[in-house]
Symmetry: C5
Subunit: 383 residues, 5 copies
């Protein structure tokens, strides 16, 4: 009867367990290629202070020539849909089988692995999805060597590296004068900074929800709150380990990273901490929103019940009075049998009695403040 | 009156306190055999790079010949239903009485014990139960010696070691070239990886519940949420200490584990951390679901109350009007006594008045939005 | 109007603050004897590998002869109702005044105190109370000397030491071959293991509550949940510090404890950690039960409201119709005044109209599913 | 319209922020005298093993003679209402301006400051207020010198030091044979022990609330729960830092404190930990009470709704039947128009029908158990 | 339909993410000038023990002369609206590009950065907003050099430094005799102390809410609670890292800070801890308020339902009785047909019956206590 909520499922696939995990007992280092993934395209940017080469490469082995030269080589692999090419890529860069597994099987938490002459950084990259206020997330792996940086991403459609490409192309800032460690920093910084616009979207969604939840709480609102809560949990799982990874990058003192770049990494670390601060604040706000929602629903119920009570309490006694004078006691058998029916002013007096009762009841409700704000609260709210 | 909920009870037995604990004051090292447990079957796999022996063994003492040879021996004991055999097993492998107690009495939390020439790993193994989305759990004990690995499991019906057996048989990967420490790692890795499909089942159950809770929350939903919460707690008690155990395995530097295997264990540790990440996320999601459930039930109540209020508020005043003209004031005694009854258009005017009142009330309810979504929300929900 | 809930009060006295605390500013080391406490009985068990003496002692000073002999002496004091005897006991064992205060004033948290030639362990002992699923709790103090163990307990009626006494009497296990440190371990282990049957009782109570809360939640259920929560809090206050105490016992390396016994203590520590695991799981389950209770009560309210709404919504419109035709408009004055009253088929048509309205309403309620499960849910629940 | 709740405000003033804080940017070390504070009275007790001097002092400078003598001098200042005297006190005792500020401006959290020849302890002292089950709280500052202890308290009316004064006067215990460090310990111990009777009061209030919340939850109950929660928060802010302060007193090893006294301080530390245990237990209990309250209110609503539903469901159908036979269809126009009205047994049959309907409905309600416990639950509750 | 809630949005801008964050991939050290910011005004105060210069400076380069002289120079920059001036300021003070970015881009969390000859402190400054009980927040950056302090703030309208300016002008306290480190401390202390009046405002708002929530909970109350919760979250994000920053300032031992000033910083640190204590207490109180609100709303619903139930339960049976005697059974056809109608005392007896029923019902409601406190609770509440 009920269609699957696609967005939920999609998210879980992106960030986690489904499909990518390998069967228990498979050989460690096994590469599993996702059938839906695009075939890898390999882009090379090789630069030093004066020269710059831009090139798309067909075979992974082409890279080898560039790796040991003095210039900085950035090899960017986009798409993971071909097992053979990935294997050869691993050989070209001389990667440990476990690293290659981590890079290809996109289920890893962010982490840092230090293999003497290579530093592997597994990170999460997010790009805001302005259509629904959510985000696209994917794993990015950075391998830092002495003269090269290898980046591997699954989705060729969007990344956060355009700013860095631009700086290299236009020779802006100091990037062209620095080594591969600075490039790795610049890419990592771009990844971290990429979380800010995503969080900004969530900030706006929470702002909108805050009003909706107080003014017009509905089933949909509830769903939205839960949805945000869930997505923030996803983000959190991406950011927290990133912080630890960067921190150990700063402290562990790999020789591949120069002290100058280490200062920049500290700045990068500060940004991650700030991200976490904002994220946790948002999580607390959303948790608070759920409480507010529950209260607002109860409030609404109060308004409904008030209305029911006011209407019932006024008309039920009146109906009773009408019922009394609708009785058929025989007035002719006895002077005590409903003499009011034969009074000259009987009916007007009866109506007057009803009016009196209604007035008294209305007045008592008014004193309790049940009449004033029962209906038009939402409109009064706009301050 | 009410039958016991078997599943709950079963789970608790599996993972914990009941039955297996010994009476206070019994001698430490006492082995208590569960009467329902199957008698132990002992399987031996002895291999090196070239040779491979598969064998079922009848008497524990038969193992002794294989333990000190240069080849790797994997002794797999399935079933715990015979105290005598277990005692002799302990003697054959020269196990400390406390270790034997830990292995047999299946109530231990995962842990690692380092006895100079033996490393004992107590772990929890889970196998997904596709019938109800839950899992079968049992304790597995690994004893790692210089040339052998002893594994003891209670339930012979299912384990996660088929992949490993397969790799040994078909000589896939590097397992045949490595020592007993690599075998122990491979088994431990299979145990850890065995949690992923179980968690995946829970991910699906949570997905299903998310829809159920918003669209059609019922008593059963509540029960399911609580059930998942409870089972995740069980899983958690299995995974968390496993992480600590593997961590201390990596750091404490027993001589039985070579540096190469230590790198693989780090990968295994990463998987455990990832499991915990997912598990904790699920736990938060389920906690959130409970809030959503409560809100959804309140919402439903609001809908019910709205309907009651709309119906009552419209018909109670109308009934009052009808009641008034059902009064029996004597129109002949006075011209003031209900002259309306004798009007030419009396009845049509009265009906018109009722219609007017009903229209005004309906309009005011419509303006408040009480009429639109009161009934068909569940059907509108399918996006 | 309301009688005091005795059980609550009793519990608090047992585990805590009331009565036993001394007035601010009293001299440290002051002994306060609880008037209701029984007078102390002193039991001596003196044993070595070959000999065994069982004896009840009248004067504390009698112990002194046994303390320095080579055999292990276990002096067990039961009851705290005589200040003079306690003072003399302190002198006989040469206890620091602060220790004696700790032992007698039963308000201490579990802890370990290391006085060069004596090791004082303050622990909590619990015994399951099968009448109400709760437990009796009391403080036990162990003083470990080179050749003796002194235990002091308040309540002579029950303790967990029978197993240990049995092992000494029957010379089971290795206890008769070991020193006083092993005896202290055996007693401590019996105390720790004594928590398992208590927790088992709570496991059963929680199982029962789980069904009650979903099938038939009532005021009493609420009270039971709160009661369990409270008692688990009590248990927790007893267990947590016990863990720390045992841990520091293992690590701090007093000379009174031999390395062999230290291994056994590690086992004891593992049991404590396991206890805490189970306890915290139970606490989470009970916290979850409270949420479930709240939801179940809301659900029940929904059922009640549904019934009210169905009944009201069907009969109020019908009563309105009846009311209309109960009006007294004069049909003779005008052909427009209630001509239906004079129709040949007037009454049957009116009844048919009522039937139609009722059918339509019932059908619409049926479509919403309000009729099916409103009443008999509890009976359907038994799976 | 609503008067300020004085108690709340009073509490906040006592324990915290209001009034005492100085303007941002004022000179550090500034003394602000609270106008409502009483003028300081200075009491001196000077004692050694044999002699004892009790004296009220007019000018702070009089103390100086006693400070350097071999006997222990306890200078107790009560009241803070005179800036000049306080300044001179500071000079007499040679206090650092920041210490004097801490002592006078009663807003500090408990802490310990070590100035080579002086040890400053800022503590919170509470005295139970038996009128309302709350407490009076104030700051006490202890300055420990080689031969003297200076204590400063705001409120002369009550403190917890009477026991200590008594022990000095009557030469009870070992206090007269010990130095100033023991005196400081004795005072600190009295302060800590002073929390127990306060917590005991809260234990009783929680006991009372437990019954009230289940048997008769009202608006007032809610207020009381919140009030206790708030006051426990206050207490907590006083106790927690006290623990840290005492701990650092034990560990940091100031030369002013002898090893013997350090053992006593360990006892004092244990008491603080125990206080925190009890306090946190109470906080959990109160948090649980809030949940229970919410559930109990929902339960009560259920009872109310049940009554409404029973009454409505029984009488609305009956009224409908009465309404039908109150219709005025003309029986003379047609034999089908309400022939029942002219039946010989019409009225009795109609009443019998009503009785039948009512009985069926009552029976169905009885089967659901709605009739039994709806009203008299509170009275049944007394077990 | 609904206007944006400005205050929320404003707050978020002030304290966080929006607008100021730079695009992912921009060059580190980029300065982004907020268009709405005011152009910078630069104020110089140069002083030593004897001399004092007050001066407004037009060009940043003018400062340079003062920086290396022996006197202390305080350069206070207010407003950030001119990129060129800020760049030149950075050059004049020889600031690292990353520092300048931190100072100008007002999104940083409080932190401390130690560059050998400069110490950079990023702090949050708040000023109470007495109009709405909230606060103005902005970032303040302090750069401490050997002979100078540079402060940069965005908003020229208000800061907390007037007290410090005053002390310098009037030569109050020891500030004129101390170096630049004391000035930095004094400014930091003023910033920290500036949080107290803000928290005091929140204390008052919480006091007010406590009454509102119990006496008259409405939709607005809910909004206020959420608003306070949100603002306290903001404050928290400002204070917590400030504590860490000051702590590392004390411990890390930069040479720019003398031991004397370090003692003062410890005082400053104590104040921060105290702020956090108060803040966390407030956060707990507000969380408690939300629970109280939910309970109070439920309570109110109970009152409403009670009224409805009382009115309905009394009048529905009465109306039924009236309905019975309004039936038209033909009394002439049979003596059994409603003989009551023809009784002599029929009508009075009927009224008496009604009165009896009403009395019984009222009495039973009164016994349940439903009549007493249903309406006038709010007025009774004023104690």
């Amino acid at each position: 009867m009920v269609k699957k909520n696609r967005k939920f499922t999609k998210l879980m696939k992106k960030s986690g367990v489904k499909e990518h995990f390998h069967q228990p007992g498979t050989i460690p280092g096994t590469i599993i290629v996702d059938e839906n993934s695009k075939p890898p395209s390999i882009f090379l940017i090789d630069y030093n202070q004066t020269d710059l080469i831009h090139k798309q490469i067909s075979y992974p082995e082409e890279c080898i020539n560039y790796l040991d030269t003095n210039s900085v080589s950035w090899v960017d692999v986009q798409g993971l849909g071909n097992q053979d090419i990935l294997q050869r890529l691993g050989q070209s860069f001389d990667l440990h089988p476990l690293i290659l597994e981590d890079i290809v099987n996109m289920v890893e938490r962010p982490k840092i692995e230090d293999y003497e002459d290579q530093l592997v950084i597994i990170a999460h990259m997010v790009v805001p999805n302005n259509n629904n206020g959510s985000f696209y997330g994917e794993q990015v792996s950075l391998v830092l060597g002495k003269y090269y940086v290898l980046t591997v991403q699954e989705e060729p459609e969007h990344d956060c590296f355009d700013g860095v490409r631009n700086r290299i192309d236009k020779s802006k800032g100091i990037i062209r004068c620095q080594g591969s460690d600075y490039l790795a920093y610049a890419l990592l910084d771009a990844i971290i900074d990429g979380f800010f616009p995503v969080l900004e979207l969530y900030g706006e969604r929470i702002d909108d929800l805050e009003e909706e939840v107080i003014i017009n709480p509905s089933q949909k609102t509830l769903q939205k709150i839960y949805q945000i809560r869930r997505e923030l949990l996803q983000l959190r799982r991406g950011i927290w380990p990133q912080r630890d990874a960067i921190n150990s990058l700063i402290r562990d003192g790999s020789e591949l990273i120069s002290p100058d770049v280490r200062i920049y990494l500290r700045d990068c670390y500060d940004h991650t901490v700030q991200l976490i601060d904002i994220l946790e604040t948002y999580r607390e706000l959303v948790a608070g929103l759920m409480d507010v929602y529950l209260s607002a629903v109860s409030n609404k119920m109060n308004e409904i019940m008030k209305l029911l009570t006011v209407v019932s309490s006024i008309f039920i006694p009146l109906t009773f009075i009408a019922g009394v004078y609708g009785m058929n006691f025989n007035t002719e058998k006895s002077p005590h049998n409903m003499p009011e029916l034969n009074w000259y002013w009987g009916y007007p007096l009866c109506l007057a009695l009803m009016l009196l009762v209604a007035t008294i009841l209305l007045y008592s409700f008014w004193r309790r403040g049940w009449l004033s704000n029962s209906a038009n609260l939402p409109r009064e709210f706009h301050r």
